[in-house]
């Protein structure tokens, strides 16, 4: 039995080596499949999203889903569930139409301060780090899972930083997930689903853990 165990250990080590050797090309392939965020060129797109807001004091997270479309520097954030809300965010400001009604202006112009994140949304979805660096400190690193990259944004403006906290963008060929972590303890997770995904259901919503 002892001999068998010995062989077994050798076999295990061997198998481990094989496994490692086999795994290496896959890891390289995964990394090579994810270009650096600075190398990304993301064209206009339209994708499903699921947003989950975890707010202190609220018993359950606020979940919304719909379609986000990026066209030029304008983002069309179309919530379909819980009800129809179309928010258009661009250099001219922010408008919102509820239930197919007339759009009403929420903000004129791109502005600064509190609207910086919202108005930077187009740059964020396009992973335009050059544009994002106007308002944020940007740090890029490989993601922990090794299957993409993680860009961490911290607002340059101290007051905005105190309100907004940190923005983590995860992705590979494009943005897959955005997490806003606020100093108050609130945090939002936005999952941008792959283009091939069917209409997201409740299962597609992230578990909310960071």
């Amino acid at each position: 039995m002892g001999n068998a165990r010995h062989i077994s250990r050798e076999a295990q080590a061997f198998l481990g080596l094989i496994a490692f050797a086999l795994a290496l090309p896959h890891a390289d392939a995964a990394r090579s499949a994810c270009p650096q965020p600075t190398d990304l060129v993301i064209t206009d797109f339209s994708r499903r999203f699921v947003q989950t807001r975890h707010l202190e004091g609220l018993d359950t997270p606020l979940v919304s889903e719909g379609t986000v479309s990026l066209k030029g520097d304008v983002v069309d954030w179309h919530v379909e569930n819980p009800f129809d809300i179309r928010t258009t965010i661009g250099p001219k400001g922010i408008t919102q139409a509820i239930g197919g009604g007339e759009p009403r202006a929420l903000q004129e112009g791109s502005g600064g301060g509190i609207a910086s994140f919202t108005t930077a949304l187009a740059a964020l979805l396009r992973v335009d780090l050059y544009a994002l660096r106007r308002d944020f400190n940007v740090a890029v690193a490989p993601s922990r899972s090794g299957d993409g990259w993680l860009a961490t944004l911290k607002p340059l403006d101290e007051k905005l930083a105190a309100l907004l906290g940190t923005v983590d963008i995860r992705g590979c060929q494009s943005v897959d997930q955005v997490t806003l972590s606020r100093p108050s303890g609130d945090y939002d997770q936005i999952d941008i689903l792959p283009p091939s995904s069917s209409k997201a259901g409740g299962d597609a919503v992230g578990d909310g853990r960071r």
Binding site: R53, L55, G57, L58, I85, G111, F117, L163, S184
Partner: protein, 761 residues
């Protein structure tokens, strides 16, 4: 101590030392100098509520600051704007608008259950509560929306946010190459330390950003006040400097020894120190205009030194008491009449004129005391006049002691009458406050840019509502705003800065509370709580909480005030709104009126211009009484004629060359009287061999006065220039006309001897 007036020595030196200590202490910290030119305006306003409100509204308007940063590159511009905001905040005097907005947002949140927007009032009244709930959810679901869980749990309909959007208009629109920084100074823009730090922040910013293609345009009283302060400093240096240098040179040339100008400077210095110390003791700060006028004191104060030192040429050597006796009475008479002239300025309720009256009176008394107390101890004995003094004396003698026949007197009188008639026909009058300042062209251009880019219209007038209590004042304002909105659909946006929009009367609070309870919370709160994931049982209690500890926003506190028996509220108006409302003023509620501070200041200036002429008449009468008391002769009253006539002719002569008459010309008449009377007094006093030096003395006196005061005519500030020109021309005319005093006196004496009348009071 047989020389001079020994009893004056110790008080003079003690006063000088105390003055030095006071001035040193006061200037050891931030300079106690006020640069607000509007403080030169009289305070007279019979309606105390209006007076308080005008002061408050003017101060609030003066604290507004708007800066536009321009650059084609948006990122560069935003960085530059952010850094400029940080630099301005680092001064410790500037609060940006977004921070003021935070105060108001907190207030609205705390009071959200008792406030309602007019639109929401209508929406709820027509059953739109469900829409209010959906709006709140839609806002929360915007990616990155800043609504926190804590806020949503307390305010599930986001009423605080709705109120903020409705009541506070969005930032003014700009073109795509501009970023606006607007905010408020937390202190007076007329403090020199504030101006200097603000200017330094902008200069540093420009040094870093202007070469990167980023430009800046400014709008705000602090920038104008700073430009005015720089100009005033330059003028003080120029006028005071040239005056001092010219007088030193004159004294050195005439007396041919360096001790003479040193003694003159010491006499003037004693006066200025005493004036400054007295002003800083009586008033908290001293106006920059007082300092400019004070610089002119040099021209009067040195006269006392001049008179004393001139006696060195007129008496036998080493008899100083005789020297002083020669001039003591006329010097005292001249000083008292001059002080009376300056004190008459205090009759006007202008803070600056009161300061000038105090400054000049204390300064003249101190200089006079120094001249008769200390100067005899320091000046040498009698001596022979040098060549320059002799030459000057001959010229003065030729000009001031001409042989005047009845014909020449008649021709002179005709010329004077002709000038007066021609001058009166050309006389123009300026009472407009806006003519008081000529702001620098670059600042005017920058302000135009700011107006163009922001659509900003200055709030020059305001709606004033008063009541016996705050509640009644609020109700009156609410009624007035409702009336205005009913007639002008745009009024709600343009008249947003009104107390009752943010802090309504109990009547309106109660209505809002009831409507919210009946049409929103009652039917929809439970559903809204569920929709947002909140426990419906807990939300009801949290939702109706009102935070009584929320601080009252400073922007709103600036809109209300109180007098002894009235509470009042202010709503700033642009010129367009003001014109529109003023045209319908009769339809406004009784306790509501439109106030135009500029028009009120102009009316007050007009009244005080008229009063200045009356004061001139009173001062002439007072001087006549002083002269009559001192000389106890009817003929001595002729002393009053030259300065009085000179003052009037000076105004007429200036009118002939197109210089308008203003309140400040009016007060200059008092100074002409106060200084010009000296010439006539000395002409009246002297009748022996010392006459020659007396004429030299009063000529030099006039020269020094004109050098110092006439130079004020070069000032870019209209009140100062107006004052200086009138005094300069008036003093020259006073000197020239003083030569008629002796012939008139002699004629009276001959007549009295012939008739046997006794010319004694």
């Amino acid at each position: 101590m047989a020389d001079g007036k020994p009893w004056m020595v110790v008080p003079s030196i003690a006063a000088l030392l105390i003055s030095i200590v006071i001035v040193t202490l006061k200037f050891s910290g931030e300079p106690p100098i006020d640069t607000d030119i509007l403080h030169a305006l009289p305070l007279a306003e019979h309606d105390t509520v209006v007076a308080e409100a005008v002061t408050q509204a003017t101060a609030a308007a003066g604290q507004q600051v708007t800066v536009v940063v321009r650059a084609d590159d948006a990122a560069l511009r935003e960085r530059a704007a952010r850094e400029l905001t940080a630099r301005l905040q680092a001064t410790g005097y500037f609060t940006p608008r977004f921070e003021q907005g935070a105060d108001i947002a907190k207030w609205l949140f705390a009071n959200r259950n008792e406030l309602l927007c007019p639109d929401d009032q209508r929406l709820l009244a027509t059953g739109g509560g469900e829409a209010v709930g959906r709006d709140a959810v839609a806002l929360v679901l915007i990616p990155g929306a800043p609504a926190s869980g804590a806020v949503i749990a307390q305010d599930p309909f986001l009423l605080g946010y709705r109120l903020l959007r409705c009541l506070v208009p969005p930032s003014p629109a700009t073109d795509t190459t501009a970023t606006i920084i607007s905010g408020r100074l937390d202190t007076s823009p007329y403090r020199i330390a504030v101006q200097d730090e603000f200017d330094q922040a902008i200069t540093d910013w420009r040094r870093e950003w202007s070469n990167k293609g980023v430009t800046l345009a400014r709008s705000g009283a602090v920038f104008y006040a700073h430009a005015g302060a720089i100009r005033a400093r330059q003028e003080i240096s120029l006028i005071g400097g040239i005056g001092t240098v010219a007088i030193i040179l004159l004294f050195w040339v005439i007396f041919q020894r360096m001790r003479a100008p040193a003694l003159a400077v010491a006499t003037v210095g004693a006066g200025i120190l005493a004036g400054l110390a007295t002003c800083l003791t009586v008033f908290e700060t001293i106006s920059v205009m007082t300092l400019v006028f004070g610089a002119a004191l040099v021209g009067i104060a040195d006269d006392y030194a001049l008179h004393y030192m001139m006696t060195a040429f007129a008496v036998e050597p080493n008899i100083k008491t005789t020297r002083l006796r020669l001039i003591f009475r006329p010097l005292l008479t001249g000083m008292v009449t001059s002080v009376c002239g300056f004190l008459a300025l205090a009759l006007f309720t202008s803070p600056v004129l009161t300061q000038i009256a105090v400054f000049a009176s204390a300064g003249l008394i101190a200089s006079w005391a120094f001249a008769i107390g200390v100067l005899p101890l320091l000046d040498g004995g009698p001596r022979q006049a040098g060549g320059a003094a002799t030459l000057f004396g001959r010229i003065a003698g030729a000009l001031l002691a001409p042989r005047l026949s009845a014909t020449s007197l008649g021709i002179g009188a005709l010329v004077i009458v002709a000038i007066m008639l021609a001058g009166f026909s050309q006389l123009t009058i300026v009472d407009d406050v806006r003519a008081l300042q000529r702001p620098p062209a670059d600042l005017r251009q920058e302000e135009e840019q700011v107006k163009r880019l922001t659509g900003f219209q200055p709030h020059v007038q305001f709606l004033l509502t008063r009541g016996d209590s705050l509640e009644s004042a609020k109700r009156a304002e609410e009624d007035a705003l409702a009336w205005i909105e009913a007639h002008d659909g745009q009024a709600r946006e343009t008249l947003f800065l009104a107390t009752t929009r943010f802090d309504p009367s109990e009547r309106n609070r109660s209505q809002a509370r009831d409507l919210l309870a009946a049409r929103l919370f009652g039917p929809y709160l439970t559903d809204q709580a569920r929709r947002l994931g909140i426990d419906p049982r807990a939300v009801g209690e949290r939702n109706t909480q009102v935070d009584p500890s929320a601080a009252y926003p400073e922007a709103l506190a600036a809109l209300r005030g109180a007098t002894a028996d009235k509470q009042y509220l202010i709503v700033p108006l642009t010129a367009v709104e003001s014109d529109w409302i003023s045209a319908r003023a009769k339809e406004l509620p009784a306790d509501v009126s439109v106030v135009d501070p500029v028009a009120r200041y102009a009316a007050v200036l007009r009244g005080h211009r008229q009063l200045s002429l009356q004061a001139f008449g009173v001062a002439v009468a007072v001087c006549a009484v002083v002269v009559a008391v001192v000389y106890r002769r009817w003929s001595a009253l002729k002393i009053i004629i030259p300065p009085a006539v000179a003052a009037v002719v000076a105004c007429c002569a200036l009118a002939l060359v197109g210089f308008p008459f203003s309140f400040f010309s009016g007060i200059a008449l008092l100074v002409v009287l106060g200084t010009g009377i000296d010439f006539a007094v000395f002409q009246y006093e002297y009748r022996d061999h010392t006459e020659h030096w007396m004429l030299t003395t009063i000529s030099l006196e006039a020269v020094t006065t004109v050098i110092s005061m006439g130079l004020l005519g070069l000032s870019q500030t209209m009140p100062v220039a107006s004052f200086g020109l009138t005094v300069g021309v008036g003093v020259i005319l006073s000197l020239m006309l003083s030569c008629i005093v002796r012939p008139l006196r002699r004629a009276a004496e001959i007549k009295n001897r012939g008739s046997g009348n006794i010319d004694v009071l």
